[in-house]
């Protein structure tokens, strides 16, 4: 246990905020193509599944139309500078994006959309089949309105990204076992019924190692979630509110 540190030393370097803070907002507004591409990559990775599922379930669109609309949305996001009007003081980014999706769906003409599809718009490589499969896993009538649904799917997407990144990082550091323990206890169903002794026996390690490895993996998972979230929020206040929503209180 660390002794009580002086105020200036509390938290350490990893918790000090960067002087300049990159975010998707800055990237999307940048004049440099690589910055804009990076912003698009971040937005797509976190939001494409929530957007697709939202269009499918909330708007009731068939899968083909939902795919087109999803593609169209992200294309327009960057090309039409939809984020220029976003003000983090007024709304969260995910709320703003959801409203943009609503606007797109309401205003889009199917034929015009198909025509545009055949034009000079690049198609994003998105695995819609997996998204369709995930829709089947969702309860038929979930509680809450569209905002709650979208927020939950965003959380699912963000956590999914964080899990993938954690797995890659653990493999790179030779800590695959650490990730496997997190997977067993926190991702797979039924893992929590196993005792630390049983798990230790299964993997050939000590029960105290199970505790330590799991703590490491959870710590790293939290760090990654926060880093991903920070990139996706437009201000410190929005980051704080989103972090509270995702990690502090019950998910919507």
């Amino acid at each position: 246990m660390q002794a009580l540190a002086e105020d200036t030393g509390i938290g350490g370097a990893q918790h000090r905020f960067p002087q300049t803070r990159w975010s998707v907002i800055q990237g999307a507004r940048s004049s440099q193509p690589e910055q804009r591409q990076r912003a698009l990559d971040v937005l797509v990775s976190a939001y494409w599944k929530p957007v697709y599922k939202y269009i499918r379930l909330h708007w009731g669109k068939p899968d083909e139309e939902a795919k087109d609309l999803t593609q169209d949305f992200f294309t327009r996001l960057i090309e039409k500078n939809l984020l220029d009007r976003f003000d983090p003081a007024k709304a969260r980014l995910r709320t703003y994006l959801r409203v943009c999706v609503d606007g797109l769906v309401m205003n889009t003409d199917k034929a015009a959309q198909r025509q545009k599809r055949g034009g000079d718009v690049a198609v994003l490589p998105l695995d819609f089949e997996s998204a369709e499969g995930e829709l089947l896993e969702l309860p038929i009538a979930g509680p809450g309105g569209p905002e709650e649904f979208f927020a939950k799917e965003f959380a699912r997407s963000l956590f999914g990204l964080a899990v993938d990144r954690l797995q890659n990082e653990c493999q790179a550091k030779g800590k695959s076992l650490h990730f496997q323990l997190l997977e067993l206890y926190d991702i797979d169903e039924g893992g929590r019924q196993l005792t630390y002794e049983e798990v230790a026996g299964r993997f050939g390690i000590k029960p105290t190692d199970v505790t330590n490895y799991l703590a490491y993996a959870r710590r790293e998972f939290r760090r990654i979630v926060l880093e991903e979230l920070r990139d996706m929020t437009g201000s410190e206040d929005e980051f704080r509110r989103e972090a509270q929503t995702l990690l502090g209180v019950r998910l919507p």
Binding site: S130, D164, D186, A215
Partner: protein, 322 residues
């Protein structure tokens, strides 16, 4: 991307939120609640073999880590039966500051409802709430977030004022227009400036004094305001109907202009105690007739007995056999 079911999502969220107690003497038992910038968890202290409450800063507020430890230091210096004692403080392996305190088994006053009893019981509870707050003020500490959810009644009726997360250790010897009153020097306290800069609300609407809402310098009268709101809350569904004299007390405590409020918590408590004893209260000027009537009502048994005696004596004198 890995698909996460709803239950997996929830488990990961709980795991990420939970404090990392690896290598410490504490074992996580569950979460008690979320307050302000930190979460409170129920943990087992393996050294002393008892359960305690552990407060750890929320990941979203890591830049305010110093504030949590300051909160612990402030509470630790206030040794009073109505203030939850702090046992331990430090840093967790995940870099988050924490402190442990007594695990209070009881109910918040907002959960008690009609169980609080009649007006007299509620006023007695209120007076017990005033005690630790007055104690803190006497030691130069403001609470700044008094509200029903921060006050608990223990199993033996003891009152505990919780969540000193927004408490403020005051700088002494600050110039003030009123001699003897304690004022806050915002420039000497970066924490207040940090809170404002972050845009976080320092307090809870409904229980926050106007000067606090406006981000002005606050003193003990801000807590007086909050106590007035708490008094109003305690009596909102009390039976029988709340007398005008009592309503005048919380109205005075909640005056928008702090110069017309009670100057201190003891002044507020004294007026409530006077009400309980049937004495005049400063918040409600009464006519002499009203005061006499109330004196009679307070001593009605006495007066009745003496009256009976005098009447009987008079009758005996008047109708004595000649």
């Amino acid at each position: 991307m890995t698909f996460l079911s709803d239950s997996a999502l929830e488990r990961l969220r709980v795991a990420a939120d939970a404090p990392d107690l690896t290598g410490t003497r504490y074992h996580l038992l569950g979460k008690l609640g979320q307050g302000g910038m930190g979460g409170v968890f129920r943990v087992d202290d393996s050294t002393l073999e008892r359960e305690v409450a552990l407060k750890v800063i929320n990941v979203a507020y890591l830049d305010l880590s110093a504030r949590l430890l300051q909160e612990a230091r402030v509470i630790a210096k206030l040794e009073h039966p109505g203030i939850v004692p702090v046992h331990d403080a430090g840093m967790l392996p995940d870099g988050r500051p924490y402190y442990t305190m007594k695990l209070v088994q009881g109910k918040r006053i907002d959960e008690l409802g009609k169980d609080m009893g009649g007006i007299a019981d509620r006023l007695r509870t209120f007076l017990r709430i005033c005690e630790p707050v007055a104690f803190a003020h006497a030691h130069g500490v403001l609470h700044r977030d008094l509200k029903p959810t921060n006050i608990m009644i223990g199993p033996f009726g003891e009152v505990l004022v919780m969540d000193w997360g927004l408490s403020k250790a005051l700088a002494a010897g600050i110039d003030s227009a009123e001699s003897g009153s304690v004022a806050e020097d915002c420039a000497a306290d970066p924490a207040a400036v940090v809170a404002t800069a972050h845009g976080s609300v320092l307090g809870t609407p409904g229980y926050m004094a106007p000067e606090q809402r406006n981000g002005e310098i606050v003193d003990q009268r801000a807590d007086v305001y909050a106590l007035g709101a708490i008094l109003e809350f305690l009596l909102q569904d009390a039976q029988p109907r709340v007398p005008a004299r009592l309503a005048a007390i919380w109205r005075k405590a909640k005056a928008e202009d702090r110069d017309t409020r009670y100057a201190s918590v003891p002044d507020l408590a004294d007026d409530v105690a006077h009400f309980v004893d049937g004495l005049p209260v400063s918040a409600y000027p009464e006519s002499i007739v009203s005061r006499i009537w109330r004196w009679i009502a307070r001593n009605r048994t006495w007066i009745l007995l003496l009256l009976v005696y005098v009447v009987v004596r008079a009758l005996l004198i008047l109708f004595r056999p000649r």
